[in-house]
Symmetry: C2
DNA sequence: CGGGATCCCCCCAGATACTG
DNA sequence: CAGTATCTGGGGGGATCCCG
């Protein structure tokens, strides 16, 4: 049995790997959440604090989607009370890091290019 | 003078290169448009034909955004009648190709991994 | 602490019609 | 051929409240 249903994107009936990747990382807070978790495991409230403007509702939604897509993993520590959850990248999530870094570098170069392009 | 206003994404007041990149390539039809134009220059109607389900309105919107972001360039040939426009990648757009290919490959591996992960 | 449920508003995008 | 204008609805996301 599958761990979960696959959540792939399709174009005119066919699975599209590119769109699947985009769907995984596109979302109002997903990219910055991934940036945070690239560096270290974090708790729900720690993430929330480093994400100014992000509501708890949105953080929960984005985290649950990333978890459903097997990019991050949630850990609940039952010995703590009231409760303690933490999130970290899965192996799949780790494999995404080079792409995120490449996009960050491309964006920096893109901004620089447009800034210096005059007419 | 700038060619156009910069269209960068910010996080809590600071320019975010990663989000800027994501904004450039995220859009209902942008990724597939870029895939088409990676291979060859295409006319508006040619693009429309290879994008089943895409309305003319959406194609226009996505093309105009990509053009505003300097990813593609529009060429109008006045010698043709009624009219002939074509679109091709700019140099900036070309520089995006490796990232798109990396995302496509990652997506393929991602799908494969999830398909074969059983429990 | 770490969420979920509900209400509500606004914007994205589809449908349709019009145009140089 | 290559678009634009207008109308409309459905969903994303904010605000607020509740819960184990």
């Amino acid at each position: 049995m599958m761990l979960t249903a696959l959540n792939t994107q399709t174009r005119h009936g066919e699975v599209c790997p590119l769109d699947t990747t985009l769907k995984v990382i596109t979302g109002k807070w997903k990219s910055i959440i991934l940036c945070r978790l690239m560096k270290q495991e974090l708790r729900y409230s720690e993430l929330l604090r480093t994400l100014p403007g992000c509501t708890r509702r949105m953080l929960s939604l984005q985290l649950s989607q990333l978890e459903a897509d097997h990019i991050i993993q949630k850990e609940v520590d039952p010995t703590y009370t009231p409760i303690k959850t933490s999130y970290h990248l899965t192996e799949l999530g780790q494999s995404l890091v080079p792409i995120i870094q490449a996009m960050d570098q491309w964006g920096a170069q893109y901004i620089k290019t447009l800034e210096t392009t005059t007419d």
